[in-house]
Symmetry: C2
Subunit: 260 residues, 2 copies
DNA sequence: CGTCGGTTTGATCCCTGTCAAATTAAGTGG
DNA sequence: CCACTTAATTTGACAGGGATCAAACCGACG
């Protein structure tokens, strides 16, 4: 009762008043899958040379699932009975407090794992931003493999350690930098994973971005306008952007000190 | 070069300009211990029934070390060659960016572990707030035990998962609540570990608190005054406080909505 | 008793949340 | 294909919280 960390209302944000799922017939269901397991388990043991242990496990013992935009991939408080690898699409991982305020701490996308940290129950909620395809491995399978595979154990520890380090760095940027710089860093980080010279498409809405970098929806818009006005980004449409690679970027990590 | 996550300057905050270590002769040294290993390793295998695997390991295979206020327990970037258990005193764990801004994400105290997350190198810096005594276990010892002790493995995973969950919740409160409430929550959480009806002593300075809850030193002072004025805390001196347990605290998690 | 570091308070400015309205985008049905 | 509806983005106006600069206060210590 006294514990303020209970996230009882709004464990999922999929059906909050301000943000409705557009095309999510099964969105409200607690741990319902938007689409049931599709591809059956593969039987032969395949492995690429550059695979990690965990990837190998996914290659050999995973089910594929689809999620409609806005649907819930996993729900805070539910049993953590699987582990996920994003095949395509974007997911938002978030915690929500009793007043409906939300913090999106990650946007896992292709190649990212989801659910490596929890053993018993999920401490967060994951929702599909756009159409998402994931592979999942039953928790039991993972545990069995962990019991005998020492490399996998090391990999899992490294993964979790990396997540923790990233969160603790995120905390620093959340409190120490202003809106436009936070947005710029996010766009930069997001762009880093989308190679190619063209424009990058943002699958998530302004509110999602705001809940990620700690700004209101409106401030995100202003930050976008600000970066555009300063010539730091090229905003083709509200969802397509490109970072302007200023040739002489070196000592100054961010040329954000110029005022309009 | 382009990576903005490099924490090259000020990996330690012990000797930043504004905050000097008072009594730390070896404070500036990179990985120097304020005092070398003191108590020798214990040889017999002791174990309390309520011990966890990790505590048992500390009971049997640890060295005791002392740290003066302001000295560095472990430094960001150094090899993670040990794991720590705080015996007494308070530590601050933080990340620092290139502009000297600091985020203290935890204040480990008696009974808390430090360094469970990193395998290769420390991703953060830990410094003694006051006089600190820790027990440490060499990384090698831990790894050897991990290889054969399945319960310990589960414990470590649970520990790390708990840390990650806590950080992700912290991120939410950092951006969603105002200064006084953040301070109140911190004082509440801090008090939760110090049982006893008397006044609680804060070992850390205002700046440390500020860097923990994302406020400037001055705003921390104002938040203290604010809470005192509203009768939510009893501030005996600048470092001794007591939460005012308003008898009817139930539905309202925080009676902070009244305006001065 | 004076010095020094930390704390507190004051004055001011800027960022950002909030409320509101305008604009654009995306469907939907005729 | 166009009118209509609805959601999302953008911009504007305004107020409040907190950072910053500065000064006063306070306690520890030699």
């Amino acid at each position: 009762m006294k514990d303020m960390t209970a996230f009882l209302p709004y464990a999922s944000t999929a059906n909050r008043p301000p943000l409705r799922p557009k095309l999510a017939p099964s969105g409200a269901g607690a741990s319902a899958y938007a689409t049931g397991p599709k591809a059956a388990k593969q039987t032969q043991t395949l492995r690429d040379n550059d695979d990690t242990e965990l990837l190998t496990l996914f290659r050999n013992a995973s089910f594929e699932q689809h999620f409609q935009p806005g649907s819930t991939v996993l729900l805070h408080g539910d049993p953590a009975d699987a582990i996920y690898l994003v095949v395509s699409g974007t997911i938002r991982c978030c915690t929500v407090d009793s007043e409906g305020r939300r913090q999106i701490f990650a946007f896992p996308k292709k190649g990212d794992f989801v659910g490596v940290s929890d053993i018993d129950r999920w401490h967060f909620t994951a929702e599909a931003v756009d159409h998402v395809i994931v592979k999942s491995i039953p928790r039991l399978t993972l545990e069995q493999e962990l019991a005998v595979n020492i490399s996998l154990r090391l990999e899992m520890r490294t993964l979790m350690g990396g997540l923790l380090a990233r969160r603790e760095r995120q905390m620093l940027t959340l409190v120490s930098t202003k809106g436009p710089e936070r947005l710029y860093r996010f766009l930069e980080e997001f762009a880093a994973t989308r190679s190619g010279g063209g424009h990058i498409v943002l699958p998530m809405c302004r509110r999602d971005i705001g809940d990620h970098i700690g700004l209101s929806m409106e401030s995100v818009c202003r930050a976008f306008s600000d970066l555009k006005r300063r010539g730091l980004i090229d905003l083709k449409s509200h969802e397509k952007y490109k970072l302007i690679g200023n040739a002489g970027r070196d000592a100054t990590p961010l040329p954000l000190h110029a005022d309009l």
